[in-house]
């Protein structure tokens, strides 16, 4: 927090309207996330990495315009937007199915923000900026799938949930968007979870509890995997 923020208890009423607030961008789990090892000692079985500072736009076809949405999407991203629970990656964006006739555009560096996409979908879809409304957690490691199995009722075996598979589902009573990204260079599967900002801390603690027995490596990153 910047030093200019004034604790609310010291603001006199007549000054309230001119109080300065800090608008620094912070992760909703900034306090809950403590970088380093957690749980069982030894080699970490699970790594939990929060990905910070991404652009996330939800694209939802207007009523009856689903078909009209596909062409501009393909023109913009070079690939078709997923029409079923899948995630597709391009050089600079990941398109993740988020429900019938809707998908997320996940990217970095301002290339696919709402402002940038508004023209593309002007006649077919509504956009909604979710960039700071969600927390993105990336889960990998040899026990990553074991840990997720405690939280998810979806079969995450590679045969059933290969790279590129996606699901809108619930974990610990919390709505999430889950997808499997590209494997890590060491061959480990990578699972990504997008969760509403205000539910993120709760789910984060649940993940830590579930992963503790395997040993956890906690970190955060600015890079989309």
């Amino acid at each position: 927090m910047s030093n200019s923020a004034i604790p609310s208890s010291t603001i006199r009423m007549e000054d309230a309207s001119v109080a300065e607030f800090s608008w620094d961008i912070r992760s909703p789990i900034e306090r809950a996330l403590v970088v380093g090892p957690y749980g069982a000692l030894g080699e970490a079985g699970v790594s939990l990495t929060e990905i910070r500072n991404f652009d996330l736009v939800q694209v939802m076809a207007r009523r009856g315009k689903a078909a009209e949405m596909t062409k501009p999407a393909k023109a913009r991203f070079g690939v078709a937007a997923p029409e079923m629970p899948k995630a597709v990656s391009t050089a600079d964006a990941t398109l993740i199915w988020s429900g019938p006739d809707q998908f997320f555009v996940l990217s970095k560096g301002g290339k696919h923000t709402t402002e940038a996409l508004v023209q593309t979908f002007a006649s077919s879809a509504s956009l909604s900026d979710q960039s700071h409304a969600r927390v993105l957690i990336s889960i990998s490691g040899p026990k990553g799938r074991m840990m997720l199995a405690k939280l998810s009722s979806i079969d995450l075996h590679p045969d059933a949930f290969p790279a590129g598979a996606a699901a809108t589902t619930s974990m610990d009573h919390t709505s999430v968007t889950l997808w499997r990204g590209n494997d890590r260079p060491d061959g480990q599967a990578v699972f990504n979870v997008l969760v509403f900002a205000t539910f993120a801390e709760s789910l984060w603690h649940t993940m830590l509890d579930s992963a503790a027995e395997y040993g956890v490596e906690i970190g955060h990153s600015e890079d989309l995997a």
Binding site: M60, A61, R63, G64, A66, A67, E83, M84, P85, S98, G99, P100, D101, Q102, S153, I154, A167, T168, T169, S170, H173, S175
Partner: protein, 91 residues
Amino acid sequence: MRIVCPFCGERELSEFSYLGDAKPQRPVANAGEDAVYDYVYLRDNVAGVMAENWYHGGGCRAWLKVTRNTLTHEISAVEPTAGAGAAKVGA
């Protein structure tokens, strides 16, 4: 009980919420009090196969019409209700 969402696939029950019998239709505005009473309060309370409205709120947030036997919990059909997404099913 598991419900096969036409959009998401087979999912556990706790991802869905229940609205109940899909048969009652909201009466027209001037239908009169008896029709509204019937719509809001009276139920067939079917013992057997019933069409019901379910919401996949813990998943894709689509409304679904589920045909289910209330005596056995057996589900024989799941279809999306009219609205967003419906056009794509089966495509």
